[in-house]
């Protein structure tokens, strides 16, 4: 058989290919590094400011007019309370929606509509969700400026991100696994619950971490809801008023006294620690389950 491929050329060409591979690999690595370097710079700036202000008192004090007395307690506890609502509500709604769209819904105009609607919601700015929450939860449903009202608002805000991530994760589960399960006489829900969801968990978690991180760092919609910044007491239940860390931080950064900038940095550090803690839990679960099929 006459050869259509010139071996000599292939070998010559290979130098270029390998060079391209190495150059781009290096570039890709630099790109990854870039994010890390920015992170280091940012963290360095924050930590050098926060050092000396981070102590037990800071965790134990309520906000104060005096920088040395100001503490994050109300915000920290409030942010955790907020997560108590946002995490389950947004996960249940988000994953539920994703399952419906990927596993149950027939491709129809209606599902197309829901799909478009979700990606559209992902783009609606957080501040508009604030307006929504104020109108619907705070006023119409009479929930007031409570953890519940704010939690529901934030859940709707992060819902689209979770839905999209969960959909991608569910879609990536190979069909042959579903077939195997159906073949055992499993019902649809059994298949989803026992096969599809466990296999999709890593992807769902990745999206959810990002979404919940966003919820915990978000300020604007809470400002619109009218969540107070100063509180000298802790909420006792989901219908109480509360405040969150980013609002504290936001307030501190806008104060004239230079020391409040350091207090803000200390607040950021606490917020980051909470975030990293949340991430670690999710990463632990993710790494435990991640498979390549």
């Amino acid at each position: 058989m006459e050869k259509l491929i010139d071996k000599q050329r292939v070998v010559q060409y290979m130098d270029g290919r390998l060079l391209r591979n190495n150059v781009l690999k290096f570039l890709f690595f630099l790109a990854t590094l870039f994010g890390l370097i920015v992170l280091v710079v940012l963290l360095y700036r924050i930590f050098t400011q926060a050092i000396g202000w981070l102590n037990v008192d800071f965790l134990n004090n309520f906000p104060s007019r005096r920088p040395e007395n100001a503490g994050i307690k109300a915000g920290l506890v409030g942010s955790l309370w907020l997560m108590v609502i946002v995490a389950p509500v947004s996960l249940i709604l988000g994953v539920g929606t994703a399952i419906y769209l990927e596993e149950y819904a027939k491709k129809s105009r209606f599902t197309d509509f829901i799909q478009t609607n979700i990606s559209n919601l992902a783009g609606v700015p957080s501040i508009v969700f604030g307006l929504l929450g104020l109108t619907i939860f705070v006023r119409e449903l009479n929930l007031g400026r409570s953890i519940l009202a704010a939690g529901l608002t934030m859940s709707l805000l992060v819902l689209p991100v979770i839905v999209v991530a969960a959909q991608e994760a569910i879609r990536a589960v190979p069909n042959q696994l579903r077939e195997a399960s159906y073949g055992m006489g499993a019902t649809k829900w059994q298949t989803i619950y026992r096969i599809v969801l466990p296999a999709a968990i890593p992807g769902i978690l990745t999206g959810s971490i990002l979404a919940l991180s966003r919820a915990i760092g978000e300020t604007a919609p809470l400002v619109v809801l009218g969540i107070p910044t100063f509180l000298a007491y802790l909420p006792q239940g989901i219908l109480d008023t509360f405040t969150v860390m980013p609002m504290q931080i936001y307030n501190w950064t806008s104060r004239p006294q230079a020391d409040f900038q350091n207090v803000a940095a200390a607040g950021i550090v606490v917020l980051l620690v909470v975030l990293i803690f949340m991430n670690s839990i999710a990463i632990f679960i993710r790494n435990k389950f991640q498979k390549r099929y």
Partner: protein, 305 residues
């Protein structure tokens, strides 16, 4: 209606000497006034640990929106209430009382390296900050103001249009004329500090408290309102000498809350009794003492009605 916010105090009645109160006090509104009320709330928590005071910072406008719907007890404001807001309150049957709690002085600032500006007159300020006062494209040079000053463009910094600070500056300096279009705007006074500190040709204005805290980075320009240049200081602001750039800041209290909730009245009283101290502590200037006393009487009267 506002189940979570509107407190329902157990205690009713006039006197509250050493009495322990409980219930909620909901304060919202101006970010300018926030530090003063925060200070009061913090100190109040020591006196009345069972009263839950919350203070928000939705801005003067945002605060009034809630206040006129009856959702808050106090609404902090860096300007007096507007007619539209009054109407809204009336429509919802909300009666209120205006309380002045401190002075804020608008400081005019230049960069530390600026060694030529000794003072500015009110007219000069207007010439610089009003649009089109010097030429069509709003670019103003120092030499346009006084020929001996450098032939370089002035970089203007101003709080955004939606702040109480701008509102006041607009009223007393610009007199209704639009702001110079080249002005750099920010809602955040700390951001303006950064801007002015970073540019030799900068000129800007913001709240007195921010000047006090950044004295090492910026220089305040004395203002001549016809009686010679006056520098902004506690004394000149309190005495009214530093004119026209000092203004009072307010909180509005709901009369209904004042009457029905002992803790609201008690907090208002606490605020007025200690307002001078808190204002100074967070960088504002206290009103003359008789002003506080006068207002204390007024709310006592309202409560008794």
């Amino acid at each position: 209606f506002t189940t979570a916010c509107g407190g329902n105090s157990a205690e009713q009645g006039g006197e509250n000497g050493g009495e322990q109160l409980s219930g909620n006090v909901v304060v919202d509104g101006s970010s300018t006034v926030y530090p003063i009320v925060e200070a009061a709330a913090e100190a109040y928590a020591g006196e009345q640990p069972d009263v839950k005071v919350s203070v928000g910072l939705s801005g003067t406008g945002g605060g009034f929106e809630k206040f006129t719907k009856g959702e808050t007890d106090f609404s902090n404001a860096s300007r007096p209430i507007k007619d539209a807001e009054k109407e809204a309150a009336e429509k919802n049957g909300i009666q209120f009382e205006e309380l002045q709690i401190a002075f804020d002085g608008l400081s005019i600032l230049v960069n530390k390296d600026n060694d030529w500006v000794d003072y500015l007159t009110v007219d000069e300020l207007k010439k610089i900050f009003a649009s089109g006062a010097v030429n069509g494209d709003d670019k103003v040079k120092w030499s346009d103001i006084r020929p001996e000053w450098p032939n370089e463009e002035i970089k203007l910094f101003s709080p955004g249009h939606d702040s109480g600070t701008f509102d006041y500056f607009d009223e007393v300096i610009l007199d209704g004329q639009p702001l110079n279009k080249t002005a750099q705007l920010s809602e955040d006074d700390n951001v303006l500090v950064q801007g002015i500190a970073g540019d030799k040709n900068a000129l800007g204005y913001f709240g007195f408290a921010y000047y006090i805290e950044n004295k090492d980075k910026l220089r305040a320009v004395p203002i001549d309102n016809g009686n010679g240049p006056v520098e902004p200081t506690h004394e000149t602001i309190q005495s009214g000498e530093y004119a026209p750039l000092s203004r009072p800041v307010f909180t509005y209290v709901s009369v209904k809350s004042l009457k029905e909730k002992a803790q609201v009245y008690d907090f208002a009283k606490f605020l007025l009794e200690n307002g001078a101290e808190f204002a100074e502590e967070v960088g504002y200037v206290a009103l003359p003492q008789e002003k506080y006393d006068e207002q204390l009487k007024k709310i006592e009267g309202l409560k008794q009605q």
